[in-house]
Symmetry: C2
Amino acid sequence: MSIVVVGTMAFDAIETPFGKTDKIIGGSAIYVAYTATNFVNDVQQVSIVGYDFPKEEMDELKSKGVDLSGVVVVPDKKSFFWSGKYHLDMNTRDTLVTDLNVLADFDPVLPEHFRETEFVMLGNLAPTIQMRVIQQMKNPKLIVLDTMNFWIENTWSDLQQVLTMIDVLLVNDSEARQMTGEFSIVKAARKILKMGPKYLIIKKGEHGALLFHENNVFFAPALPLEDVFDPTGAGDTFAGGFIGHLAKTKDISFENMKTAIIIGSAMASFCVEKFGVQRLKEITKADIDARLEEFVQLVNFDIALV
Amino acid sequence: MSIVVVGTMAFDAIETPFGKTDKIIGGSAIYVAYTATNFVNDVQQVSIVGYDFPKEEMDELKSKGVDLSGVVVVPDKKSFFWSGKYHLDMNTRDTLVTDLNVLADFDPVLPEHFRETEFVMLGNLAPTIQMRVIQQMKNPKLIVLDTMNFWIENTWSDLQQVLTMIDVLLVNDSEARQMTGEFSIVKAARKILKMGPKYLIIKKGEHGALLFHENNVFFAPALPLEDVFDPTGAGDTFAGGFIGHLAKTKDISFENMKTAIIIGSAMASFCVEKFGVQRLKEITKADIDARLEEFVQLVNFDIALV
């Protein structure tokens, strides 16, 4: 049970209405990896870090079953750094600083033993980089891709090309609207499915997520939380739970993707409870099972009475 | 199977990004009544209209099983009139005109045979009027109350009093925030449940609805629609489906309320497809069953694999 995870390993400095952090560990591949290790025993990480990325974090990832042989360490440059400040609604944020550092030279070359892996999670990166990873995969069964408004605005033709090479696209509602010019999410979904991906997941933050495939649609709620402490990484955590479950079960049917989305939502609900990956490092199998039961209770109803 | 429905019977003039109507039939009690007649055979309507309210509409309501003996017709005044314009997102609107007309004198006196009825739907009206209805009910089993920001702002102490006399409160997310000063919906819900109602439904428009009771929470999604043509009356239609199902089954358990909320959401999804009550007049039992099956498909998942 292996997953190739491609994305950033970075430092974040985060400000929310509830508090503020100095540089803490972040990056899409970090969130995906910590989450996916709850489901599979071999997470094959592809990333790039600078001299300043802490050895203890690398050791902790290894101890959880993350294979770091695809992570390049650049000895004379710093790791990618992002800083942002969330608004009161926690759905929107301002980016304060983006220091690409090592990320400017990221050209992923996958170790030979990664190339046979069937499940591939491509975190939010330039579409050309995502494409180069896909070209190295020998036998992919499911390729999941995340992207963001920056690539939609600035590298649309590259992104269009990579969309024809993947199975599942993850975007949020505003990105779906941006990609299509459609305000209606349902119309936007229909247009995006014509661009290449077989499955489309539209994330709506606290309002849940929708899965589209052909004429089918499935809705997974977000757990109603008293407080969202820090939303950073929630989307990557969702992705880690989603692909983690699919890789564990080796079942990529629409039915199983529904379960995978509920699991992604459950994992994301942990992520936002504390700053950074802190909460993801603490949770146990029992915590996850209890949270999944909450989701069952949240949406389970009996329509037989009608 | 009877329901007392108290609310407005009115004219609306509506503008949405998709079109514009002249004066059409509207009002909370109209939407509730047309919806509830799909579930019960005796809707006992309590309202007030002017000389201008069309006889054909009264006849149509009667033919559907609506008992109009609680509707006062004022011979020398006009019916309540509301006009509004929706913004592009369809979640917000500007009120252009509110002509109270007959509504200014509304002091509901219930016919004797209405007073024994167990299920009571109090549409959005001044809390003092809602209270006067409650005081006339002899044996209520379930009282459902709708309200709005106007009453929260201007008659808060009356509203607080009526909240102690009801079973289910219906509000939208911004009203829940306004009532409590809490941004978190979960925290707001907890505070509102302490104000009196045993059950609380928070409507989030296209993002679905949440049912809170003690420490339980249930989420019903809204059906993802290609177009929302006119949201007017969607909340009242939701209420009509909700109380209609409960009155039909005479079961006010939390479990059955989950089903009732799904049914309310399904009915609301019809309402928004055309202007006014037009769509509600057209739908058949088969349409409703098919729509309910869409809801089952939308949220039904199997977590046994985990």
